[in-house]
Structures are given as structure tokens and as C-alpha cells.
């Protein structure tokens, strides 16, 4: 574990990615704990649509609310959605992929064809469809994003699982009479941790984007709550008058995605034994 963090810090993009992600997580935690500079809903009527000042580092919006505070809350909200949806997708996807690979035959065919159908739609379209049926809201956007990313995890897990399944140590386990659940968790899952970690990190980046997209369209987080996509949507009409309203949330989205992608790339390098030599 210690060696893992050391090689992560030695990896150039890993260092940057890890720093960005860590910063976001701290911001998200602070905002959820209520430690923002101002109450994000408090309206400073006199100071509406101000640019950056000493009192309001990122200015104020059209209702006079502090942009920095709202941004922090927004990051917290986006992270909540991203982490829960990716977590959900990873669990369901892994379960499906693992059982598909292990039991094969009809179950494998059924699961994988369903995943093929889901993957055939663009992610945002599928999420829209889901929300159209269930109705908008934070919880539904979590479900929608999880729904959209499940097939990716299923595929990522099924491939390696199929190859690990044929390895001798799995045969050895079966020869001892180990139970299926033991083999699936100890032998298959443990060897899938590396590809899964990478996939989770990358999926976090995409789901951050999808969440912003859904909120932007008014289908995710509902006002007066704040989220990055919602802040962008609010700022569009004031773009020329108050560009900071657009720039800061947009930067936040971009930087977040960049952070996760850099971290994902680094993890792939570190966790893939074939790449290890190149990095070291």
C-alpha cells in the first residue's frame, strides 16, 4: 500500500491528478459540513452581480449570493451524485460481469446482449430517457447515471474475469472444493481490483460531466440547491454582463474532469504490471 502511494506520487500526472482530486474532496467535505464563507442561499441585495472583491472572491450572482459558497456547495453536490452513481454502477456492473463470466451460457448471453443494447445509446440520451420516465431530482440523476455506466463496468469486469477463470489457481481452488462465492471473491475479484480502480476513476470524470449536463438541462439538482450544471445554466443569459458566473463553474467542471482523468491514467500505468517498468 505504501509502495502504491509512493509510485503514485512519483508518476508525474498521478501527482497532479491526485492533488486536484484531493482538493475537490476537501472542498466537497467542507461544503457539506456547512463551512462555506457565506450561507450559499443568503442574498446580499446591494451587492448583486458584483465581480471578484475581497469580500466575495468569485463575485456574486444576480440574487447577490456568494458565488464561491455556491460553487463549493455545487462541487459537493456534484461529487455526491458522481460518487454514489459510480459506486452503484460499479457494484451492479461488477456483479453482472462476474456472474456472466462465471456461469456463462444463457445468463452470459442475456446479460451481455442487454448491455450491448444499453451501450448503443449515447449516455446523456439514455439518462434523459430514464429521467423522463422517473422524473427529475438528485436521487433520480444518481440512478440515471448509474444506469448509464453499469454496462461499462460489466464489460470491463467480464473480459478479465473470463481469462482469470481459466487460470490454474482457479482450477486448484475448485479441486479443494472451494465454494463458488469464495472463488468469485478471493480469486476473481482480487485480481480485478486493478482494472476496476482505473475504471472507477475514469467513470467519476464522465459522471461529473453527465451530472453537470443533466443539471444544466434542469433535470438533475433542483433550485434553490446549487450544483455546477445549474450554476452554468443560470449564468448563460448573463454571460456578457457577468462572465465570472460562467467562468468559475465551468473551470470547476473542467479541472475536476482533468483531475480524475490524470489520476486514472496514472493508476492504469501503476497497476498494470506490463507498464510498471516504464514508470519506474
Amino acid at each position: 500500500m505504501k509502495a502504491f502511494f509512493q509510485s503514485l506520487l512519483r508518476h508525474p500526472s498521478g501527482r497532479i491528478g491526485a492533488a486536484i482530486v484531493l482538493l475537490y474532496i476537501i472542498v466537497a467535505l467542507l461544503s457539506q459540513a456547512g463551512l462555506t464563507p457565506y450561507d450559499p442561499l443568503k442574498q446580499f441585495r446591494i451587492e448583486r452581480l458584483q465581480g471578484a472583491t475581497l469580500a466575495h472572491w468569485m463575485g456574486t450572482d444576480m440574487f447577490g449570493r456568494d458565488v464561491l459558497s455556491r460553487l463549493m456547495i455545487g462541487i459537493g453536490q456534484s461529487f455526491l451524485v458522481a460518487f454514489s452513481s459510480v459506486g452503484l454502477a460499479a457494484v451492479i456492473g461488477t456483479l453482472l460481469g462476474l456472474t456472466a463470466a462465471w456461469f456463462g451460457h444463457l445468463w452470459d448471453g442475456l446479460v451481455m446482449r442487454l448491455m450491448d443494447v444499453l451501450l448503443a445509446f449515447p449516455a446523456i440520451l439514455l439518462a434523459l430517457l430514464f429521467i423522463a420516465v422517473v422524473g427529475p431530482g438528485t436521487f433520480t440523476s444518481i440512478l440515471a447515471i448509474a444506469f448509464v455506466y453499469t454496462p461499462i463496468f460489466t464489460r470491463v469486469v467480464r473480459g478479465p474475469a473470463l481469462s482469470i477463470k481459466t487460470r490454474d489457481f482457479v482450477d486448484a481452488a475448485r479441486s479443494f472444493g472451494s465454494s463458488t462465492s469464495y472463488i468469485l471473491t478471493r480469486h476473481l475479484m482480487l485480481n480485478l481490483v486493478a482494472p476496476l480502480t482505473v475504471q472507477v476513476t475514469l467513470a467519476l470524470a464522465w459522471s461529473l460531466l453527465t451530472e453537470s449536463g443533466l443539471s444544466f438541462l434542469g433535470l438533475g439538482t433542483q433550485p434553490p440547491n446549487s450544483s455546477l450544471g445549474l450554476m452554468l445554466a443560470d449564468s448563460v443569459n448573463l454571460m456578457e454582463m457577468a462572465p465570472w458566473l460562467l467562468i468559475f463553474p465551468a473551470l470547476a467542471v473542467m479541472l475536476g474532469i482533468l483531475g480524475f482523468n490524470l489520476l486514472g491514467d496514472a493508476l492504469r500505468d501503476i497497476l498494470d504490471p506490463r507498464m510498471r517498468r516504464v514508470v519506474a
Partner: protein
């Protein structure tokens, strides 16, 4: 004789700067035209790197020649130093003057091109032949390596040919341009014994016909005796000894050579079988393992609709028993059904018919009385688990908890198989191949089995390690009265560990009996062929005979039932199946892959 190749002070390393890791530290040798030099060593000795340096293929593997000269006499009479020759020059030499044969014929050929296309490619590049001329030359090349029915085989893809056939194709390609030097890197390691004998015979004949110089790399001293003129023994990147074949084999100077020679399992035709066990006559003792009429068939389907076209009769009505403290060796070539038999006992494949019973004197529990040690110790240990978790698995699988008693047993077994006490927190990759196999043995013994199935358990190990693991197995057997089912293709190893031998051919036992009887006076034609194929130290430069018999197909039409076996008893404990000449079986399809 003129020198074809003269290597002096060759040093090869991998990596650069701080990471530079030298692997060959100054090798010198000379090779005369038409001479065969065998380079012998265990894994990591630098023998392959030395060979790959000669045609500079080592450059593509990240290696670099650090120092030394390699003077090669070209066909034109000029002498060039291969160590410093330009890449363009080397391309010409690799194709035209130095041929190479690799270990794995299956992965050395391109799977999407027919073998005809691949061989004619060599002719096109090196001699500029195209069209009919290339085809004719290809045909001739295939005939030269004794591939029967060559014209039809040209259109075959690699997957349609057996390993032995593919290695012949590789040799045909290497010889396409009449090289003056042929480098063979463990060319028979991936092949069965009888196929190995054929490839060795082919190499020996071709060498006589073409006068090619040959560098033969191997870990097997037994093979060296059959082909080499001179022998060079390498260890850790250094030459420990070199000289003429007879001197090295008969009067080795260096302790390492002596050690290697001693470690080679000598096959002596049943003269040195184990005598530490006397088989009790029937009724006296109950066998630990009794197998009756074991039959394994795999359904075979064809076409888009997966229409059933019959079944592969992988194992057919196999009967045998193993007494406590006894080793039964199951020998045969790949596809003979020996591994399938072993796997059926472990429940890894489901027998279609037949029963097996294990005498288990221990109190009834869920512990499986049959445990297995697999061939490849690198693949049979989960890389993500530490030793404690690995050893705990059979215990957990039998529904028990890992308590202090189990931990004590782990420590005791680790010590017993010769692993350091601090192994318990380590992971499989921190151990060498031999240590891993010891770990696998300890794991199999965790639940106190009555029967241990050893599926080619030592064939992935270096000879000296192999010998030590065999000793350990024999000691453990005597200590714990274990019954061993030892599956192997290596007759020398079998002679060393077996009390009894069962010979499997095309899924059926053709001969079974006391090891001494079966190995010294084989009765069945197939057993004789297997034993004749074993390379030994005694048979120096003996001309192997080319045998073109092939294994019959095991695919039978639906509902097919084989005729009843008839047995001839030819000794107190020696039986052989009576049959017409197996090589004239009507179901005999040449070259069918299993």
C-alpha cells in the same frame, strides 16, 4: 576445418545507465562449419541471450552487446564482426546466412496466413522467387523436413497442424535459404517425447545433408548426447566449461557440470526403479484409490446450428487402483487423456461413466481426500494472496476455521517442504519456481489427503530443482503413506518416482504393471515407441529413426461404443491390451489435432 563463427569476450546487458544489468559476462567459443555446439544451462544462465546475440535479435528485446567480437565467415568468404555490423547488414545475414528455430512453434507462426504463404515469403525475400518458382521451392522445403502430402499442407493454417508439424514448418522456413548456421533455441521443449525424438532426428539428418553449423540450446543434458559435437555449459552468464561431447559427459571438470549431469534424470530402462514398496496381493490391503470404468466424453458439435456430430472419447473405460504409499505413474503424450483422468478424480471434469472410490480412514468430514499439484507453479498460485491465505484455502473449503492448530500445521508444513519460516506473509511472486512448487505441495497437504494427484508436477522446473522436488515427494510419501497418481510424459522422471506405470494411448490404458516390468520389457507397440524416444546419455549421436505415425482421432460418431478390451497377462503384475496394430486403425486421420 575452417572456423564458421568465432566469439570472443562477448558481453551482453539489458537496460542503460544505472539500470544496466549485464546478463552475459564474457563468452568465448568457436564453431567450425558443419559442427554442432550445444549450449546447456538452467533458466537464467544466459544461454538464450548468448544465442540471440549472434543474430542480434537481442537488440529487439531491449538488450545490448556491451563488448566482444563475433567473427562470422560469410558465404562470400569475407569475415564480418556481427557485434558491430549495421542493422541493414544484419537483416541480410539473418535471412540468408543464420537461420533460427524458436521454442514455441505455435506462437512463432502467424495464425492468419497459411504455412505455404509463410514459407514462400522467406523465398521471396531472400531469393526473390515469385509465383510458380516460389511454390515449387516451398513444396521442396516441406518435403525436405519430411512433411507427408506436402502439396495439400501448403494451404493449411497453423492451427490445423500439430506442434511437431509446426516445428517442422519452422525448420523448413529457417532452412529456406540454405543458411550456413542454424540456431535452435530449445526447439523441442514444448513438444511431446516421441515428437521431440522425431525433430531431433530431423535436425541430425538435415545437418548431415546440408553441412550447416548448428548451435543447439537446451536445458536437457539428455538431448545433448544425441546431437552435439561440442558442449558449452553456462551458469549465471558465464561459461563454466566447454569441450568435446565425450569429455564433458564422461570427465566433467567443473563441479557445476558434474552437478548438472548428476541431476539429469537418467532413464535406464527400468533398472533403477524404486524398491521401497511391495505391492500387497489382492485381498491383503484395500487400495487407497480404486478407479473403475472411468470414461470421459466431451460432446462435439459442428456447423452454425451446433449440430451434434458425436463425442470426443477423451478417456475410455480406464481401471486402476493405487495402494497406500504407492505411486502409479500415468504416462502418455498430449491428447492421450492422462490429464483428463487426473482432473476427473478432482471433480474438475465430469466423468460420463465409471466410479472411483477413495479409502479414507479418517473421521468423516468434508475434507477432500484427493488433492492435486498442478504443472505450472507460476499459474496455480493466486498472485494477490499471501502464503497464509493460499495455505488456508483448502481448510476453508472444507468448511473449517483457521485456528491455532491450522496455523501450527502451516508452519510445520512450510518447514517440512523446505521453505523459510518467514514465508507466511510473502506472496507467490517472491518465490522461485521450485519454491512455488513446494508451496503447492504444502497447500495440497494442508487437509491431510490420502491421495495426491501430481499433474506433470516437476516438468516446469529446472533439472536440479526437479531432482530436489522429487526427493521431497518421495520422502513425504514414505512419511505419510500417501498414494500418488503421477501424471507425466517424462520417462526418466517416471522411472525415478513410480512403483507402477500405466500407459495411456488415445484415451485408453494399453499397458499397466510394475514399473520395473513395464519399463524394462514393454509389451505394447506404443509403450515401446515411447521408451525408444527417450533421449539418454548412453545413446550418443545415435541416429534417431523418423517415425511418421500419428495419434488417431478420438472423435466418434454418436452412440459409438468401443469394443470390449482384451488383456494379456505377461507377468506377476504386468498386463497389456491385445489389439490389432493401433497404427492401422481405420479411424486414423493423419495429423488430426486433438
Amino acid at each position: 576445418m575452417s572456423k564458421l563463427l568465432s566469439v570472443s569476450g562477448l558481453k551482453v546487458g539489458f537496460g542503460r545507465g544505472d539500470a544496466l544489468r549485464p546478463v552475459v559476462h564474457g563468452v568465448d567459443f568457436d564453431l567450425a562449419a558443419g559442427e554442432t555446439l550445444a549450449i546447456v544451462g538452467e533458466s537464467g544462465s544466459g544461454k538464450s541471450v548468448t544465442a540471440l546475440s549472434i543474430n542480434r535479435l537481442v537488440d529487439y528485446g531491449g538488450g545490448r552487446i556491451l563488448d566482444g567480437r563475433m567473427d562470422f565467415l560469410t558465404a562470400g568468404g569475407a569475415v564480418i564482426n556481427l557485434a558491430t555490423a549495421s542493422d541493414r547488414r544484419m537483416e541480410k545475414i539473418r535471412g540468408g546466412e543464420i537461420g533460427m528455430i524458436f521454442q514455441e512453434p505455435m506462437t512463432s507462426l502467424n495464425p492468419v496466413l497459411t504455412i505455404g504463404e509463410q514459407i514462400s515469403e522467406a523465398f521471396r525475400l531472400q531469393r526473390g522467387l515469385t509465383g510458380q518458382a516460389a511454390r515449387a521451392a516451398t513444396l521442396e522445403a516441406l518435403e525436405r523436413v519430411r512433411i507427408a502430402d506436402a502439396a495439400r499442407r501448403l494451404g493449411y493454417y497453423p492451427h490445423q497442424l500439430s506442434g511437431g508439424m509446426l516445428q517442422r514448418v519452422m525448420i523448413a522456413m529457417a532452412l529456406a535459404t540454405n543458411p550456413r548456421l542454424l540456431i535452435a533455441d530449445e526447439p523441442t521443449t514444448a513438444l511431446d517425447v516421441s515428437v521431440q525424438a522425431q525433430i531431433m532426428a530431423l535436425l541430425a539428418e538435415l545437418r548431415r545433408e546440408t553441412g550447416t553449423g548448428l548451435i543447439f540450446i537446451t536445458h536437457d543434458m539428455g538431448l545433448v548426447a544425441g546431437i552435439a559435437d561440442r558442449v558449452m555449459v553456462m551458469k549465471e552468464g558465464q561459461v563454466v566449461e566447454q569441450g568435446p561431447l565425450d569429455r564433458i559427459l564422461d570427465h566433467p571438470d567443473h563441479p557445476y557440470t558434474q552437478h548438472l549431469l548428476k541431476a539429469v534424470p537418467h532413464f535406464s530402462g527400468g533398472r533403477h526403479v524404486r524398491r521401497d514398496h511391495r505391492r500387497a496381493s489382492a485381498g491383503e490391503t484395500t487400495p487407497t484409490l480404486k478407479v473403475e470404468g472411468m470414461t470421459v466424453r466431451f460432446p462435439a458439435t459442428a456447423g452454425l446450428l451446433r449440430r451434434s456430430i458425436g463425442a470426443i472419447h477423451a478417456v475410455e473405460s480406464v481401471d486402476f487402483d493405487v495402494m497406500p504409499g504407492e505411486t502409479l505413474a500415468i504416462v502418455g503424450e498430449s491428447g492421450s487423456g492422462k490429464s483428463t483422468t487426473a482432473r476427473a478424480l478432482l471433480g474438475l471434469v465430469k466423468p460420463s461413466r465409471g466410479t472411483f472410490s477413495v479409502l479414507d480412514e479418517r473421521p468423516a468430514n468434508r475434507r477432500k481426500p484427493v488433492q492435486m499439484v498442478f504443472q505450472n507453479p507460476y499459474a496455480s498460485l493466486n498472485p494477490r494472496l499471501d502464503v497464509e491465505s493460499l495455505l488456508a484455502e483448502p481448510v476453508l473449503a472444507s468448511g473449517e476455521r483457521v485456528d491455532a492448530a491450522v496455523r501450527a500445521r502451516m508452519a510445520a508444513l512450510l518447514e517440512r517442504v523446505g521453505l523459510p519460516a518467514n514465508s507466511i506473509r510473502r506472496y507467490a511472486h517472491e518465490f522461485s519456481g521450485g519454491q512455488r512448487q513446494r508451496l503447492c505441495i504444502a497447500r495440497a497437504l494442508m487437509v491431510n489427503p490420502a491421495v495426491l494427484v501430481l499433474d506433470e508436477a516437476v516438468s516446469a522446473l529446472d533439472v536440479s530443482v526437479q531432482a530436489k522436488v522429487l526427493d521431497l515427494l518421495i520422502d513425504l510419501q514414505n512419511e505419510m503413506k500417501l498414494a500418488y497418481l503421477f501424471v507425466s510424459h517424462d520417462m526418466a522422471v517416471v522411472e525415478r518416482i513410480a512403483h507402477r506405470v500405466a500407459v495411456l494411448y488415445a484415451g485408453r490404458i494399453v499397458e499397466i504393471g510394475a514399473a520395473q516390468a513395464v519399463l524394462s520389457s514393454p509389451q505394447h507397440a506404443y509403450t515401446r515407441r515411447l521408451i525408444a524416444a527417450v533421449p539418454t546419455m548412453e545413446r550418443r549421436r545415435e541416429i534417431f529413426e523418423l517415425d511418421t505415425a500419428t495419434i488417431p482421432t478420438l472423435l466418434r460418431p454418436p452412440g459409438y461404443e468401443p469394443p470390449q478390451d482384451h488383456w494379456r497377462v505377461c507377468g506377476e503384475d504386468h498386463q497389456v491390451r491385445i489389439e490389432g496394430d493401433p497404427y492401422k486403425d481405420q479411424n486414423h486421420v493423419a495429423d488430426a489435432r486433438r
